[in-house]
Amino acid sequence: MRTRGGIIVANIIAGLALGYTVANIGFGDYAELNRMFTFQDLRMLLAFAGAVAIIVVVFAVLRVRRTPGRIHAGVIPGAVLFGTGWAISGGCPAIPIVQVASGYLPALVTIAGIVVGIRLCRWANARYFHLDSGSCER
């Protein structure tokens, strides 16, 4: 599965599974999201934390290698902006896709915002920040 075709198939499987799971957990539902962030309902929080716990144990047993990435000046300000955006719009980069797929048409506006934000970040980084932001996806 480490050939070009294998990686494409793996991404299709991961995308299908992620979209299906995220929608069934209820991450696309703003009511559930606000209840998670305000600790009124721990269900989604436990789903996320539980997933991380399982992954940590399985990766440790399988000795999965670490991916490149170090703490740089953009991590904390970026995470603050992301957390704010997530709380007010109800969207992390995958969720608006799931929202549109569930029929929430205004989430197309969230996607448009994400498109602008991502393009703005690469432009601003090249021009002003010059961070080797060592993206975590490899």
Binding site: I12, G19, Y30, F39, G78, W86, C92, V98, A124, S133
Partner: protein, 214 residues
């Protein structure tokens, strides 16, 4: 309409998705990174072409030698040739291992990132339809109306600004809830643990403000 999954089913689903990807590809996936690369597809295509051209180390060495010769004359290229003089030990290295370690350093093919985003849509759609939750609507639900805003213009503005913050923030931080949250925290990467703690903490703070204050 069926209920949302209990927490343990959600945890199992997210964990299985992440572990399956890591085991089959020896990589980490991230939705914000996929967006970033798909939106900058022109630049990414250029990078892919260059990477393909220099996939073979020897081709790179020859290209460097040729470029040096072009720039400074044929004689000056001689020192570069020492790159090719290998000790017998180095030659014994199996070429397959070398190429797979090189492939591991390259980003996933651009087309796979397009596939990831489209597959998220299809997966979400199947879930919505099979549970009876699919409904075309022009609002974001009752809770959004009560907690954030119920005026259409303000809603559009909030969603757009929120989207810009999400897009800018995830790329500045180098990942989102899938890249840092699941894949990075799962690998106990310090950068991902810091990023996840900060974006989650900010989400909590802003959500309390929206719920209690505004």
């Amino acid at each position: 309409m069926t209920e949302y999954w209990p927490w343990w089913a959600g945890a199992a689903g997210l964990a299985l998705t992440t572990i399956n990807y890591a085991v089959t590809t020896d990589r980490s996936f991230g939705v914000s990174g996929a967006w970033d690369r798909v939106l900058h597809w022109r630049a990414e295509r250029r990078v892919e072409r260059v990477n393909a051209q220099f996939a073979d180390e020897r081709v790179l060495t020859e290209a460097l030698v040729a470029a040096t010769a072009d720039q400074f004359g044929a004689g000056s290229a001689a020192p570069a040739l020492h790159l090719d003089t290998r000790t017998p030990g180095q030659d014994a290295r199996p070429p397959a291992a070398a190429s797979s370690s090189l492939a591991r350093l390259l980003p996933a093919p651009l087309v796979s990132q397009v596939a990831l985003l489209l597959a998220v849509f299809v997966g979400g759609w199947v879930a919505a339809v099979t549970t009876g939750r699919f409904q075309l609507r022009l609002d974001m639900g009752d809770a959004f109306g009560q907690i954030v805003t119920d005026k259409p213009i303000a809603m559009i503005g909030t969603l757009f600004v929120g989207g810009v913050l999400v897009g800018f923030g995830t790329r500045l931080a180098g990942g989102c809830s899938s890249g840092h949250g699941l894949n990075g925290c799962g690998r106990l990467q310090p950068v991902s643990i810091v990023a996840t703690a900060v974006f989650f903490g900010t989400g909590v703070l802003v959500s309390f403000l929206l719920w209690k204050v505004i």
